[in-house]
């Protein structure tokens, strides 16, 4: 048995390279969302007042379907990370915090599943 303290054991071994993971994921999704959001806004404006048929045609286009799916998935991932940060900052009670975390991830997964299912129903016919 070593008499070294845990701190001394890992001293000098360098970083575990996971400390900035959340920070980097948040920034990378943010950068990806800049062009996707612009595309989403241009598409939304283009579909204003459109009949259902025109929207079906627009969403059946593979490029539009994939871009919208990507926009939704990356948005939800970015959203889940952000909401997690808000919960961690403002909710001190451990049980309530756990509940909100589960709600947060459950929300993201449920909305993602619903959107992808609807998109698939629209574009794969």
């Amino acid at each position: 048995m070593s008499l070294e303290t845990p701190l001394h054991k890992v001293g000098g071994l360098g970083s575990a390279h996971s400390g900035v993971g959340h920070f980097m994921r948040q920034r990378i999704t943010a950068i990806a969302l800049i062009p996707l959001t612009v595309w989403f806004a241009v598409s939304a404006l283009g579909l204003i007042g459109a009949k259902e048929v025109s929207e079906l045609i627009f969403l059946s286009n593979p490029l539009n379907a994939v871009l919208l799916g990507t926009f939704i998935l990356i948005s939800l991932y970015h959203l889940a990370m952000g909401l997690r940060e808000v919960v961690v900052d403002y909710v001190p009670h451990e049980g309530f915090k756990l509940f909100l975390m589960l709600l947060n991830y459950g929300f993201a997964i449920a909305v993602a599943a619903a959107c992808l299912f609807a998109l698939a129903r629209i574009s794969i016919v």
């Binding site: 920034r27 943010a30 950068i31 969302l33 800049i34 959001t37 806004a41 598409s43 404006l45 283009g46 579909l47 204003i48 007042g49 459109a50 009949k51 259902e52 025109s54 929207e55 079906l56 627009f58 969403l59 919208l68 939704i72 948005s75 939800l76 959203l79 952000g82 909401l83 808000v86 929300f107 909305v111 619903a114 959107c115 299912f117 609807a118 998109l119 129903r121 629209i122």
Partner: protein, 136 residues
């Protein structure tokens, strides 16, 4: 404990006591728009589900958005998205080390509010002027 009635201790200054600087307002607004955009994602999901279910559901969705409340919600979504986008770019610039000087941060903070309102307002102006709908 009971024999020493607690004196009211002075609290250190907290959120409510400060005059709100621009940077504080932009920061909390970034958070609030981020949380609000969770509702925006629900709106996107509702839209896609409505389109996938057929004309009746789709027309109901459209008629809901056409109501005054629907238009207010839509404007809120548009502005929250515009604000989070523009202020997000400001945050990314900070991450790369640009614009951190306080006078600059104050100026870009005001710019973010103005620009996001112009973007959301411009979107609605184009829509109401009939300049939208070019994909039908």
């Amino acid at each position: 404990m009971a024999e020493h009635p607690q004196k009211v201790r002075p609290l250190s200054p907290h959120l409510t006591i400060y005059r709100w600087p621009v940077t504080m307002a932009t920061s909390i607004t970034h958070r609030m728009t981020g949380v609000a955009l969770a509702g925006g994602m629900l709106l996107v999901a509702w839209w896609l589900i409505a389109v996938s279910y057929g004309p009746e559901t789709f027309n109901f969705f459209n008629s809901m958005l056409a109501t005054p409340i629907g238009q207010v919600v839509l404007f809120g979504f548009a502005w929250a998205l515009a604000y989070h986008l523009v202020n997000g770019i400001r945050h990314l610039a900070w991450d790369f080390g640009y614009g951190f000087a306080l006078p600059t941060a104050n100026k870009t903070g005001v710019l973010v509010f103005v620009l996001s309102l112009l973007l959301a307002g411009g979107f609605f102006a184009l829509a109401y002027l009939g300049k939208g709908g070019y994909y039908q």
